[in-house]
């Protein structure tokens, strides 16, 4: 131990011993980051009304409350459907756009890319009320279709950026080779390019789902009634009072998100 403390930690030969405060500080910050993200999980099993940590009594009552509530279940179902539909629409649209801009020689490329990136630049609250305003006029308010359209728009930049970066590391000569061998462009794309960027495409699909599933603000404005999303209900519930059922719902959400993201990381690595 003493040896480690006096050994050097960097090019400037500062020792570990003199940097212990940095390690402690870093550890505390990491704790600050991790604990709130995960603490909901054990708290959701707490039996008391005021969620305690560690739970004094263990119970599944909040899960019961969640799974037996028709409202919560409907909202969950809405979020899942919207998420899946968003994923199914945004992924092909975004992949095509990323591919199209990658091979396009048009001078409108830069402008197109700028437009496609605006959903992440414009403040979401503005997007929310803007879409709300338009949906009122064309009666898309509180509909699944409206939600899917809005969420697809929000997910597009992510899909495009991920697929574009996958394309950057792809050797386009292979597409040329395929075309020289007799494949026209769509066939060359499907048989040669797509199989090799599939990990980017899959990752972007999962990100599209998550963007929709976790989205709060736009859903707050344009989903309602039967087509309320889970996040909207959670937000409203939290604003009014703190229902511990939300702890159980949060845990389920964490499970869904983490497993999907772990999957995409896994695919991403084996895709090298």
């Amino acid at each position: 131990m003493r040896k480690w403390l006096t050994s050097s930690a960097s090019e400037t030969q500062i020792t570990h011993g003199r940097r212990l405060w940095l390690y402690a500080y870093g550890a505390l910050v990491m704790l600050y980051l991790v604990v709130p993200s995960l603490i909901v999980v054990p708290m959701s099993f707490s039996g008391s009304q005021y969620l305690s940590f560690p739970p004094r009594e263990w119970s599944l009552r909040w899960y019961q409350s969640y799974f037996t509530s028709r409202e919560w279940m409907e909202a969950t179902w809405v979020s899942l459907r919207v998420g899946i539909l968003t994923m199914l629409v945004a992924t092909p649209l975004g992949t095509l756009a990323a591919y199209g801009l990658h091979i396009s020689r048009s001078r409108w490329n830069g402008l197109a890319m700028m437009i496609l990136v605006t959903p992440i630049i414009v403040p979401v609250i503005l997007i929310g009320i803007g879409i709300f305003y338009v949906y009122v006029q064309i009666s898309l308010l509180n509909t699944l279709t409206g939600l899917v359209i809005a969420h697809t728009m929000l997910a597009l930049p992510l899909v495009i950026l991920v697929v574009a970066s996958g394309l950057k590391s792809f050797d386009m000569n292979q597409e040329m080779a395929a075309r020289s061998l007799g494949a026209w462009r769509p066939v060359a794309f499907l048989r040669v390019t797509l199989p090799q960027i599939r990990f980017s495409v899959i990752t972007s699909a999962l990100l599209a789902f998550l963007t929709s599933f976790d989205e709060v603000i736009v859903a707050l404005f344009i989903s309602g009634g039967e087509n309320s999303t889970l996040t909207r209900k959670m937000f409203l519930a939290l604003r009014d009072q703190i229902d511990p059922t939300i702890a159980a719902i949060s845990t389920v959400m964490i499970l869904v998100t983490t497993s999907l993201l772990a999957m995409s990381q896994f695919f991403g690595k084996s895709g090298d």
Binding site: S10, T12, L22, Y25, G26, M30, L33, V34, P36, S37, I39, V40, Y50, L51, S52, F53, L93, G94, L96, A97, Y99, G100, L101, S104, R105, S106, W108, A112, I115, L116, T118, V122, P123, V124, I125, L126, I127, I129, G130, F132, Y133, V134, I149, A150, L156, D214, V216, I217, L220, F221, M234, L238, R239, I242, A247, S250, M253, I254, T257, T258
Partner: protein, 296 residues
């Protein structure tokens, strides 16, 4: 078959080229149309609305109200304060962490990266709720503190500015750490070796060499955090308890409660313009830094 006049081919080749360019570009049209219809047009409409007075005529009355009413001034000040403090806290917490991560051996750094990525992976709503549960009067922190005898009365940790800052810093921290980490990793270790060789102690080497070289990443991360804070809604709405009112929240209430489209859209336009200006400035500083010879 004759070769044909080459002049003819020139016209046809030109047309072929343009047809192909159009075809390739049109692959991105569906996505473009979607974004234009669902974002550009609605936001454009809002922009337009902000210039229509309540009586239905072209006017600047909404903007004048923004500039004159004290409540708006307070909201802007609060928004800037919250964004500024959050950014400052992020730098305070995030710079040492990024530095530590950049110094670690690769495998250890990868594991610790999970700690930074984990908040990204959890929904904003879930994290905000966790802070509510932690900070509230009967929450985890207060019950621990009182049981351990640190304090006798529950501390007001949430539904105020402190709670908002604690929550927002937590949300924004990864946005600072990641670009900063990237920028730090790119710093050539030879620079530090040279500094040491030339007589700089570890502390001075850090201040004079490492810190300046990490600036591009720091500026980028801080800009992202600040800009995100400006427009942020969910966390301050839930943790502020109605006492901390940001621009985004005022926009929401203007619509939900008062149906005051004029005021809300004017506010929104100001927010958008602020965002764009800051983005532009930040990109300028980043470019300038790179020109001035960043971490190369």
């Amino acid at each position: 078959m004759r070769a044909g006049s080459t002049l003819l081919h020139a016209a046809e080749l030109y047309r072929d080229e343009h047809r192909e360019r159009l075809r390739l570009f049109s692959l991105s049209l569906p996505a473009l149309i979607l974004v234009i219809c669902v974002l550009v047009i609605p936001v454009g409409w809002l922009f337009w609305l902000s210039f229509i007075s309540d009586a239905g005529q072209l006017s600047l009355e909404h903007y004048r109200r923004l500039a004159s009413q004290a409540s708006y001034a307070r909201i802007f000040r609060t928004t800037f304060e919250v964004s500024f403090y959050t950014t400052a806290l992020c730098i305070l917490l995030g710079y040492p962490l990024a530095y530590l991560l950049a110094q670690m051996p690769r495998r250890l750094a990868a594991i610790c990266m999970i700690a930074v990525m984990l908040p990204f992976w959890t929904s904003v709503l879930v994290r905000t709720y966790a802070w509510l549960a932690l900070l509230q009067r009967q929450g985890v922190i207060n019950s621990w503190g009182m049981e351990a005898g640190f304090w006798s009365e529950p501390l007001p940790l949430v539904h105020n500015l402190s709670g908002t800052l604690i929550g927002m810093t937590h949300i924004m921290l990864p946005y600072l750490v990641l670009p900063l980490y990237g920028s730090m990793k790119a710093i050539n270790s030879d620079y530090l070796k040279a500094a040491a060789n030339l007589g700089a102690s570890p502390v001075r080497a850090f201040w004079l060499v490492y810190l300046p070289l990490s600036m591009p990443g720091l500026v980028a991360g801080s800009a992202i955090v600040f800009i995100l804070c400006l427009g942020f809604y969910v966390t301050p709405a839930l943790l502020g308890g109605g006492k901390v009112i940001l621009v985004s929240m005022r926009i929401a209430t203007d619509i939900e409660m008062f149906f005051n489209w004029g005021a809300a859209s004017a506010l929104g336009v100001v927010l958008l313009v602020l965002t764009l200006v800051l983005l532009f400035l930040a990109s300028r500083i980043a470019d300038f830094d790179r020109l001035a010879g960043g971490a190369r």
